[in-house]
Amino acid sequence: MKLELRGITKSFGALVANDHIDLVVESGEIHSLLGENGAGKSTLMNVLYGLYEPTAGEILIDDKPVMFAGPADAMAAGIGMVHQHFMLVPVFTVAENVALGGETTGFGGILNLDDTRRKIREISARFGFDVDPDALVDELPVGVQQRVEIIKALVRNAKILILDEPTAVLTPQETDELMDIMGQLKSNGTSIVFISHKLREVKAVSDTITVIRRGKVVGSADPGAATTELASMMVGRAVSLTLDKADAEPGEVTFKVSNLTVMNDAGQRLLNDISFSVADGEILAIAGVQGNGQTELTEAVLGLHKHIQGSIMLDGRELVGRSVRQVLDAGVGFVPEDRQDDGLVGEFSIAENLVLDLYTQEPYSRWGSMNRAVIAKNAKEKVAEFDVRTQSSQDAADTLSGGNQQKVVLARELSRPLKLFIASQPTRGVDVGSIEFLHKRIVAERDGGTPVIIVSTELDEVLELGDRIAVLYAGRLMGIVPGKSSRELLGLMMAGLPADEAQAQLDAPAAGSSGAGDVAPAGDTEGERS
């Protein structure tokens, strides 16, 4: 089935999210849409999936124009979509989820899932999905949930599958498996639209690459094109993807976490007996799939958690049991994982946000009264220094793009003398151009002699920044490895193997490239695939 988008324009008021986009997806090809966050990829796909009505332009399937009033129409036409955030009912079984919206009922309206179960088994067998139709979705690992989404589309006879940022939630191994699946679907005649901003994946899997920038198609590229070329097309200027980073010159160890255990109110251990240390002038990157205790670790350091055992020492002072204010005053710079939720007050001006945790100090305030002139001057300087793209520092912070918001947070946290700098997901949702800048600032802070902790779920970032890399899995530390470790090793650790076992497995001659599945790790990570 051939899909063609002709002159698709979608505007929201004055904002043009898609501007005359032309796109042809041939039958049985993997067509990647490459673009930064906010470039308009998801909008375009939502138009295609019938969620938005295009302002102008038309959609053609096999050269015949079609109109979609809603996702049901798109599905009926053979288009399936796997959203970035899964659209599954967690308390339903796989079969119930797959049947949802297209249930067949027997006498008296009783659900009949046998047919669905059969179809799921059939598809599972064909693509090697290994999905049990009667498993509860809630209990499945993320990678498998994603397959359920794919099955949902395939059961409805999707000939074109849209995958919206599918790898954002996967471990490197799961990503590889997904790429295998995409290959199989393709050889089966299914077309795939693969949406991503990760260059490595796009290059690995695509037949054709279309690059979108600011709502417009800026060109198409060959998967063989150089990474830097793709990046500069995506950003619109030359970018250097490799960070110019000198080797760390670690000094004294000033930050030390010992036997840290964090529990939630129910007494569940979110972090289990973690110990590590960071030296002055060194970046420790903490890797792991989202939700394995990284958030708790950073929040524990900042003093946001109540149930803590163990010790967190900074410069010889115990941080456990201190208030956030005291921790910040002790010289900790903190970039929270979710800048909009935790890092910024959206309706405050940029200037106000730049003093959000400094407002009690002179010269920003004196005797309880804020000094607006000083705050405005500070804002002007920081906006210039960190290259925050804004018309005025008096604009509300939520008028900024993600990258610029992050620059504001970073500018604030780096604007005082630090004894420790912690940044969680410093470049999530940030455009490539800003990533470069943010990384440089972080490395500069390290070179200034500050111990730095970077928490990231993006392996590229971890490898780029980390002088040493720690991996968290299910609240435990799987080990700390040197900064230039292999992706395979980190991937295994992220899937729950301690460092030594992971290394042993990579070293074993038989294990080779398909080693990931042979040792099913403890816990619930998806590892097995035949």
């Binding site: 008021g13 800026v218 804020m370 939520d398």
Partner: protein
Amino acid sequence: MSETQTVKEPTPPAKESQGSQVFREIMSGSAMISVLAVFVALVIGGILIAVTDPRVSASSGYFFADPGATLSAVWSAVSEAYGALWRGATYDPTARTWQGQLGIFETLTFATPLILSGLAVTLAFRAGLFNIGAQGQILLGATFAGIIGFQMQLPPVIHLLAVILAGAIGGAIWGGIAGFLKARTGAHEVIVTIMLNYIAVSLVLYLLKNQLKAPGSTNPISAQMHDTALFPLLLGPNFRLNAGFILAILAVIVVAWLLNRSTLGFEYRAIGANPKAARTAGMLVSRGYTTVMLISGALAGLAGVAQIAGTEKTLDSDIAGSIGFDAITVALLGRSKPWGTFFAALLFGAFKAGGTSMAVNADVSIDIVAVVQSLIVLFIAAPPLIRSIFRIKAVRREGASA
């Protein structure tokens, strides 16, 4: 390949969820919406006046024969009513006494407790708390002020200052309870303050039947405040306007400074707009909730002082009237800004002062005023409604938000 590379870094478009935008609009939308809400409410009020007017209904009987008669009846009914309202609230040259001509001072008198209690609601609003309990806080403030005012003998000036302080403390305690419970247990302030309103009424009634009852009286009313405990009258004995109004203006100035200039206000606004970010920035959110409710309660308590030491002079359980609830409307209409609240309170004071004159001079039910006030609330709570009536574009905030 990169043929569209001409655009040189414009600011990327702002993305904002629809829902939060609407919420923010209700909380802090433009003054334009407030003005239009009042206007539309007055128009609808005018329609009600016309419909209920006997001359209009009489002339509408021969509407098709003489539509002009109906229209002129409508015009005269509405213009007489609103004219009387306006004159009663400002200046009425037709009144028999010269005191009666100057309704503007009655407006200011009525506005005084509304300003103070409106500020209470406004301040709590900005910290993200919906203080429904101004009513109870006013009662407690008036009670505390009263105890000092009619049960103690103190030298002049000092007596009044003591009364003011006591009233503020009384309100602060009542507001503080809600703030403390919110901070410690997460109890929702709306529910707690509503319940505290009931408790306040019962408490005051109990006290008035026992400890605070005026000697020799059978009614639950206290003795008169001593003269030293009263706000001095600003314009002599012919007008009720008293120094409470000065106190209210001072309060507006202080709250405006507190919210916009002080570190405490910065904290409150941050907590109100994004408590999680406030917490991450080292602010003590729970302490903020407690202290803002203490201050908010104190302001409402001052409204109680304005009542007992200004106009009422004795304590009864009805001393707060509907001020505590009007305060919420006033704060909404004032867009939870101190000076906005001030002017909204003046408007409501004018409704009160002019309503009587409208009822007497234009023979229009005073309930119309209540209807107009309620409609104002309705339209403010539904800014999209006002926007669609006047076809105002919603996207206007960018750039202009400074």
